[in-house]
């Protein structure tokens, strides 16, 4: 195998390992966790990592490992919901804009550009300010921030596919517009959309943890890695692990998702097909 191919394969393996570890943790966490993540134990606050508590305990004596496991589940669910909404909505709008063109396209693009004019986090902050801080509002806020990116990517891909001659062939064989879209365009936009979905998933997790870190995300006592990091700040000099562990979880998960996304993109690369 060439160096390049070996490297790409390594990416995929590492990515799968990391993501696999995440999924495993969540899976295990659904049935069993070492301690109750919400159980306060004021007798043992800020305990360093030890056999009894692998990741130590936080300022309320809660087990950091258990909280991390629950946090994983919450973050992943929120990210999954966000990505689903953004992809579903974005793909539909992108298809309409790209295939119909004309005024539909212009209107959609103007709205998309307007939403994109807000930095994602700020838009989410503003929406949360209006809707209140809950899981549902986070999902809605983040989905609103990400849908325009999906619309753009889908529209761009549709525009380039539209010009390809097999689309003309489909129309000249007598297919209606809807049939052409479903039969020929949709399957061909799947690869970029799948790659985008993996990127979005990573961004969504990152954004959710950032919002939680800022205090406007998932409200306590529910743990997510972001708010655990935020809570660790006053105790940094005595309990450094509280600042390290949640961040490591975030970074590890994101690394896994990015690597998988890269491997996926390479695998689906149309250049392989020529």
């Amino acid at each position: 195998m060439s160096l390049r191919l070996r490297h790409a394969g390594l990416n995929a393996i590492l990515g799968m390992a990391l993501v696999g570890a995440l999924l495993l943790t969540i899976g295990i966490g659904l049935c069993w966790m070492p301690y109750d993540p919400l159980a306060i134990d004021l007798a043992h606050p800020l305990g360093p990592p030890a056999w009894s508590h692998w990741f130590g305990t936080d300022e309320f004596g809660r087990d950091v490992l258990s909280r991390s496991m629950l946090g994983a589940r919450i973050s992943v669910l929120i990210a999954l919901a966000t990505v689903s909404v953004a992809i579903a909505l974005g793909t539909t709008l992108g298809l309409l804009a790209g295939y119909l063109r004309g005024w539909t396209d212009r209107l959609l693009m103007m709205v998309t550009d307007a939403v994109l004019a807000f930095p994602g986090i700020l838009l989410a902050l503003a929406l949360i300010a209006v809707l209140g801080s809950s899981n549902g509002s986070i999902i809605l806020a983040l989905a609103t921030a990400y849908t325009p990116s999906v619309v753009r990517v889908v529209r761009g891909t549709v525009l380039s596919i539209r010009e390809r001659e097999f689309i003309e062939a489909s129309r000249s064989a007598g297919d209606s517009a809807l049939a052409t879209i479903v039969r020929h365009i949709l399957p061909n936009i799947l690869p970029p959309v799948v790659v985008l979905a993996t990127s979005l998933f990573g961004w969504a997790m990152l954004s959710e943890s950032a919002l939680s870190f800022l205090g406007v995300g998932v409200p306590p006592p529910a743990p997510t890695w972001g708010n655990m990091l935020s809570a660790s700040r006053p105790y940094m000099d005595v309990a450094g692990w509280l600042s390290i562990v949640p961040g490591l979880c975030i970074a590890g998960t994101l690394l896994g998702i990015n690597l998988l996304g890269d491997a996926l993109r390479d695998w689906l690369d149309p250049r392989r097909q020529s």
Partner: protein, 544 residues
């Protein structure tokens, strides 16, 4: 005293090029033991199809092989000096000043971010000691020589402001300003239309002769070889097949591959009589005008641009009518309009006597089955996600009068006829360009159409493959008797395949008639120029 034989200008001696085979995989040989010579001022062609190694041989001269490919054996000598042994600094002195190179794709041959002036001056600044004014003067003089209007304005402009033909001429100017001893031209005109092609090559030959520059022309086009070169070497799959004086190679090829190449040149056929007037008219086009909507401005609708202007034509059952023109002549647009794929701004199109715009839904469906299109680009006309079998079957999707088993049988039958029976389950990316075009033809013919519009179906193919596909099309046409509108820019292909021809330029028909009479006695100036500029027409046929 024995006069010493002067060393040839360029000498290849046993050159082998292979992939570097890094990390495990065995190196693949791309060019095997190539040896030949070029004398000073000689014009030599390196002929071959894709995969022959001709481009690699050219790049090896200046050590410009792509990454992953290296020269593993042999010498390349310039006036006795082995170029492969030169250090970087020495090599850089040779590049540009002694040997110049011109490339194929005009769209990416010039740096889009820098003005023409800077690009022309670059070489001179490096290799010659000239003042800024002198550089500018020479640049302007050379641009005039390559017939660029308003050279001073050109200098200040960027490459994207020029057409493909002009960019090639600018690149020629840039390279020849340094007066190299050898000019390597790698398919310099393949991406240009026939008339531009002629302009660029004539210029190249002229300038080379003036400077005493030798030319190494890399090409697949035997017509160009015949017209512009003195000697030729023929490569196939990395091996030297034959070499010698051009005239001799073309009229008396000794090597079987060379013979195949020469025979693949499209030639006229005596048996292409026109179809009798009594045959039913399948397609009738009257005073058709087609417009492109202008670009929408911010507050106003765009001004439409007329691309086809008052065109009349007829195609009868069983005949092949060719539509010839350069790119931008409107021929492709016309082809699509004839199938109802582009709206008409004026005029009528009648299929089997029925006006397209007045067809009922049922008639339309029937029309869609009876009139088919074969596209130019074998790489984008097939859905990459479907198997061959499904691609061909798609045409029959709306055929309600056929049973599912009948449809499957038909698909299988047509695949056999085009010689792709075993490819039914493959995907497009697993097939070559020629095979894909055969799939496209199968797709068009499977519904037993009355009319097939073929839009440049063989332009993107190697010359031997071209012959195969053309022969296939002719065979199917005589077997099923469909009318065919054959759109192309290549007059040599027209001569081989069509009985009648229509010449278009700038959206209007400038000439039409029987191929034999138009070719022998062109009435229109544009037609005459086109005939002159098509080199393949003038290659003498070898004795069979």
């Amino acid at each position: 005293m024995i006069a010493s034989v002067p060393a040839p200008l360029l000498r290849f001696d046993g050159v082998r090029i292979e992939t570097s085979g890094r990390s495990g995989s065995a190196p693949q040989t791309l060019l095997e033991g190539l040896s030949f010579e070029i004398g000073a001022g000689e014009f030599v062609a390196v002929v071959g199809e894709s995969g022959s190694g001709k481009t690699l041989a050219a790049r090896a001269i200046l050590s410009l092989l792509p990454s992953g490919v290296r020269q593993s054996a042999g010498r390349i000598e310039l006036e006795g000096r082995d170029l492969t042994q030169l250090g970087t600094l020495e090599l850089r002195k040779v590049r540009g000043a002694q040997i110049g190179m011109v490339f194929q794709e005009p769209m990416v041959s010039l740096n889009p971010a820098i003005t023409i002036e800077r690009q022309l001056a670059e070489g001179m600044r490096l290799h010659r000691q000239l003042s800024g004014d002198e550089i500018r003067q020479r640049s302007v003089a050379m641009l005039e020589r390559v017939r660029i209007a308003d050279p001073a304005c050109c200098l200040k402009s960027y490459p994207h402001e020029f057409s493909g033909g002009m960019r090639q001429r600018i690149m020629l100017a840039s390279v020849l300003l340094l007066q190299p001893k050898l000019l390597i031209a790698d398919e310099p005109t393949t991406a240009l239309d026939t008339l531009s092609q002629r302009e660029v090559l004539e210029l190249m030959v002229e300038l080379a002769r003036d400077n005493g520059t030798a030319v190494l022309l890399i090409t697949h086009d035997l017509g160009l070889v015949a017209r512009y070169t003195e000697r030729a070497i023929v490569l196939e799959k990395g091996r030297l097949m034959e070499s010698g004086p051009t005239g001799q190679i073309l009229s008396n090829p000794r090597n079987p591959y060379t013979r195949r190449l020469v025979e693949s040149l499209p030639r006229g056929r005596a048996d292409l009589a026109a179809v009798p007037i009594t045959a039913p008219t399948v397609l009738e086009v009257r005073k058709v005008c087609i417009e492109y909507p202008g670009r929408l401005g911010l507050f106003r609708p765009g001004i439409p641009k007329r691309v086809v202007h008052g065109v009349d034509l007829e195609v009868r059952a069983g005949e092949i009518v060719a539509v010839v023109g350069a790119s931008g002549s409107g021929k492709s647009t016309l082809g699509r309009a004839v199938l109802g794929l582009k709206p008409l701004a004026a005029g009528t199109v009648r299929f089997n006597g029925v006006d397209l715009s007045r067809m009922s839904a049922a008639q339309r469906r029937q029309f869609r089955r009876s009139a088919q299109l074969v596209f130019q680009d074998p790489y984008s006309s097939l859905d990459p996600r479907l198997r061959v079998r499904d691609i061909v079957a798609a045409t029959l999707r709306h055929a309600d009068d056929l049973h599912a088993t009948e449809k499957r049988a038909r698909v299988q039958a047509i695949l056999e006829e085009v010689g792709l029976a075993s490819f039914a389950d493959r995907f497009p990316h697993q097939m070559s360009g020629g095979q894909r075009q055969r799939v496209a033809i199968a797709r068009a013919v499977v519904s037993r159409p009355r009319l097939v519009v073929a839009d440049e179906p063989v332009s993107a193919l190697d010359v031997t493959i071209q012959q195969q596909v053309l022969a296939l099309l002719q065979k199917l046409q005589s077997q099923y008797g469909f009318a065919c509108l054959f759109i192309t820019h290549d007059l040599a292909v027209v001569r081989q395949i069509a009985a009648r021809v229509i010449v278009m330029s700038g959206g209007v028909v400038v000439e039409e008639g029987l191929v034999s009479s138009v070719f022998r006695n062109p009435g229109n100036k544009y037609t005459r120029e086109l005939l002159e500029a098509t080199p393949a027409l003038h290659v003498a046929a070898p004795p069979r």
